[in-house]
Amino acid sequence: MASLHTDQKYEKELQRLRDRVVIMGGSVEDMLDGALRAFAARDADLARAVIERDRGVDQLEIEIDERCLQVLARRQPVASDLRFITTALKIVTDLERTGDLAANICKRVIELKQLAPAEFELPIGRMGAVAQGMLRNAIGAFIKRDAPRAARVMARDESVDDAYAELFPTLLQHTSGDQESLTRSQALQSVGRYIERIADHATNIGEMVVFMVDGEDVRHASLRPDNATAH
């Protein structure tokens, strides 16, 4: 556990910034939870409530960016403080986009509301649950400064990618020529894509948490010198 800064005002600035990132993370987690429940239940009212929350997440992104800018300009942070600030700057973008994607799921839910869930949609629900767990663990790893937990988030991304790759043939199999079927498949395909991207954003957050804690850049493994020949 790192000791506190001698300058208590600086310590409070960083603590306040950390708190705002945690609040933003919690809001986005709630949005995703609501979006997945709205999708499963075809609950248009819940979907609209989730969409309403996106504005608050966007405001938090602006506020956190401004706080980071002020700390960079006035404190010239280095070492772990610098890694924390750069991580905050980057993960708020992932969180904001995750909020957008949760809102997009809700928009598709509103389109789908007349069409009851079908059994072949179940893999989408499972993908959603995995992505939700990844996001929860990525934010938890940020809060607890837990690099191994963040690394486990990264390891799960491939399973979501694989599930998404299997979704399109499944949907194709269940798509007939009528307008209703096409509309359903198109919306479901989009929801699957949004979830896959949410898992990517959770992975990005996990990578930044590893950097924040250990100072190690684990992005793009194939570009690192020790893996130069791997692609």
Binding site: A2, S3, D7, Q76, P77, A79, L82, R83, G215, E216
Partner: protein, 286 residues
């Protein structure tokens, strides 16, 4: 000791030596930059004022034509360290050292090494700009040569070259007869660096060279350091960590007379390997 007395002593000295044949400890920076050549190798360096030990066995390489910053809290031994590597430490009463400081592989504390020659090869710039107040600008530049009994036959060329290297020539070329003390603080510090360069040193030690300067003058000196690194090996003591981050290739963190960590500056300021370094540079030091 006054700043001016320090300045004069930088060109003069007495010999003493306590050689130590022990091998240096490899630092993280050394292992990461095996290709850079070492201008200076400090081995098991201990420094004392009377019975007080202010440096406790420092092993540190100083790489050729690189800038090495020495950082650490007050009293950690930063200034003593740089004064040991041009034999200025021994000028202070009751001060002594043990260990070795190898300059191009040769121990500067060996019995047959002349301290004055060492100080000519390893020049020094001090915290407070200290031009000799009774001398004009021209004589200030040539002061080191004269104090060392060296020829100033090519004085005009030396003056122009030295002042040009510190980007002061254009500002003072029409007023070389003016007192050095009439210049601004930043100009005075560049004049002192020019005085150091006139002796054609190989290494320049800078002990908080910008602490008395405003931000613009500081920026000029830092730009100058950036140019001087092409030809000279530079060691800079600084309390300003942003300055170390801006100008240094390597940074060494000292604490209570010990070298805690030495590495490339880009490593020290983003992911230091030692918790004490981390605490110091992030302002968590009690």
């Amino acid at each position: 000791m006054t700043a001016i007395a320090s300045s004069i002593n930088a060109f003069r000295g007495v010999a003493s030596s306590v050689p130590d044949a022990t091998r240096p400890v490899e630092t993280a920076a050394q292992s990461r930059l095996e290709v850079a050549s070492k201008k200076i190798e400090v081995e098991k360096l201990h420094a004392f004022f009377g019975t007080a030990e202010v440096l406790k066995g420092i092993d540190l390489p100083i790489y050729s034509t690189k800038v090495t910053a020495i950082i650490g809290p007050s009293g950690c031994g930063k200034s003593t360290f740089v004064r040991c590597i041009n034999r200025m430490h021994e000028v202070t009463r009751n001060a002594r050292t043990t260990g070795r400081v190898l300059l191009d592989g040769r121990d500067i504390y060996a019995r047959n090494v002349d301290a004055v020659t060492v100080r000519r090869r390893v020049g020094m710039v001090f915290q407070k700009p200290n031009p000799f107040p009774t001398m004009n600008i021209r004589d200030n530049v040539l002061a080191g040569l004269r104090l060392n009994g060296l020829s100033t036959r090519d004085g005009e060329t030396i003056v122009e070259q030295s002042l040009s290297r510190v980007a002061l020539w254009d500002e003072v070329k029409d007023n070389l007869g003016r007192s050095g003390a009439s210049l601004s603080g930043g100009q005075q510090q560049r004049l002192c660096i020019a005085r150091c360069l006139a002796l054609e040193p190989e290494v320049i030690l800078m002990d908080e060279p910008c602490s008395a300067l405003d931000p613009i003058a500081t920026a000029r000196v830092e730009a100058l350091i950036n140019e001087l690194r092409e030809r000279y090996t530079i060691v800079i003591v600084t309390h300003n960590m942003q300055q170390a981050a801006r100008v240094a290739d390597f940074t060494a963190f000292f604490y209570m007379g010990e070298l805690v960590e030495h590495d490339q500056t880009k490593v020290i300021f983003t992911r230091p390997g030692n918790q004490r370094t981390e605490d110091y540079i992030t302002g968590r030091f009690g």
